[in-house]
Symmetry: C2
Subunit: 216 residues, 2 copies
DNA sequence: CGGGTCATGCTAACACTGTCAACATGGTCG
DNA sequence: CGACCATGTTGACAGTGTTAGCATGACCCG
């Protein structure tokens, strides 16, 4: 079967007998998540088959199926952070526009790549086992923190209210993303989708910068 | 095997040969979701085994595995709506307290029953196939709508801003719930959890009742 | 009252999946 | 050159969703 000549033959990148099978597997697993729309659609055996490798070969690179989806999960989180960083760079220094760009990129990513977004926030056994560091390990979370700090510096957020503000803001944006892709069918037109996003961002910014009726 | 006497014997409810096997299956499937913490842990064969029935018997009541989890999903949504309705009744007529009670009940349910909450908002093939009616089919959503209307009536929300306000508010609460049970490990103490919930509700109420810096 | 029909169960089987144990083999390096 | 180790492979096992075909009890109608 293996028609491998003795020559090293570095030109061909299509044999994984000492090409990186690991990344190849993550690639197709990622594609499975994208096409299928979730983590249940990433199936180890099919991925191995597509890579052209035996099912058990995957176990040289991943300790379990769950380990593979964890790899995809981190890749998905990276892509999310990357697109957010890109949009933020285009916001010009203004803190309000920065926060809005952050949130907009977040939910637009979810809508554009629901499969990736779902596995990015899917529970993996790996997470519950080893103590995954808190949210500050996420570059997206840190970007949010910096944006809020900038709003304080700009005098738009009262310093006393600043602590613990990340979670409410993140919640609003994350919730919108999740509801749009997994909630009840809202059948939003492109226009109404935009309105929902901007409306949510309005609520967040107002809620964070102003004072309101705080009777519990 | 079937030691069924000819007498109707209505007293015994423990045989499912003409007891309702369907509800029995939903019961143990629901328990699977609760114990396992998600929809992947609800497995048809094991449920049938536990009910004391052959695997294929389930197919007399559910067209597929997915159909079973859809049943559990609706049960979960009902329970969520029920606990919300309970808490709202205790809020006394005040519209602000009502909205807060609504949100609090929502995320407290998610934290108390993560398994049920996850399947309540998990994508099922059944949903994508038949056109499940919009969110107004959900009693919880309608309760939110009424609470917002009450805030308008109380003069706390400008009438012009009222339309489309359900989604942002729901997003904030839903996002918090999801992040608490599936997001990065925040290791919140009971006290900090309370603060996160109330802080989010503060943001929502302020954002909804006040006016803010709306540069897009 | 008796016989047929239909809902509801059962068994056997298929195609898959994740996972493990045991074996093979190529490249690397002392 | 020869041993080692990373990386593959084959074969098997348990468990899953799902289908086809068969059995039988309960109920209804003539």
């Amino acid at each position: 079967m293996h028609l491998m000549t003795t020559q090293p033959d570095a030109s061909r990148r299509h044999r994984y007998h000492h090409g990186d099978c690991r990344n190849a597997l993550i690639d197709v697993a990622t594609q499975q998540a994208i096409n299928g729309g979730g983590r249940d659609h990433i199936v180890l055996r099919e991925a191995a088959r597509e890579v052209g490798v035996s099912p058990t070969a995957a176990y040289r690179h991943f300790s379990s199926h769950d380990d593979l989806v964890t790899a995809v999960k981190h890749r998905a989180l990276d892509r999310l952070a990357a697109t957010m960083a890109l949009k933020v760079r285009r916001a010009g220094g203004d803190p309000v526009r920065t926060l809005r760009a952050l949130g907009r990129a977040y939910v637009e990513f979810a809508v554009a790549e629901p499969g990736l977004f779902r596995v990015a926030f899917s529970r993996t056994d790996h997470d519950v086992a080893v103590d995954t560091g808190g949210p500050s390990d996420s570059e997206a979370y840190n970007a949010l923190s910096r944006a809020l700090d900038a709003l304080v510096d700009a005098g738009l957020i009262d310093t006393g209210r600043r602590p613990g503000l990340e979670l409410p803001v993140w919640s609003a944006v994350h919730g919108l993303a999740v509801l749009l892709i997994d909630g009840p069918p809202l059948e939003l037109s492109q226009r109404r989708l935009k309105l929902a996003i901007e409306g949510t961002l309005d609520m967040v910014l107002t809620g964070v910068t102003r004072d309101g009726p705080n009777e519990s």
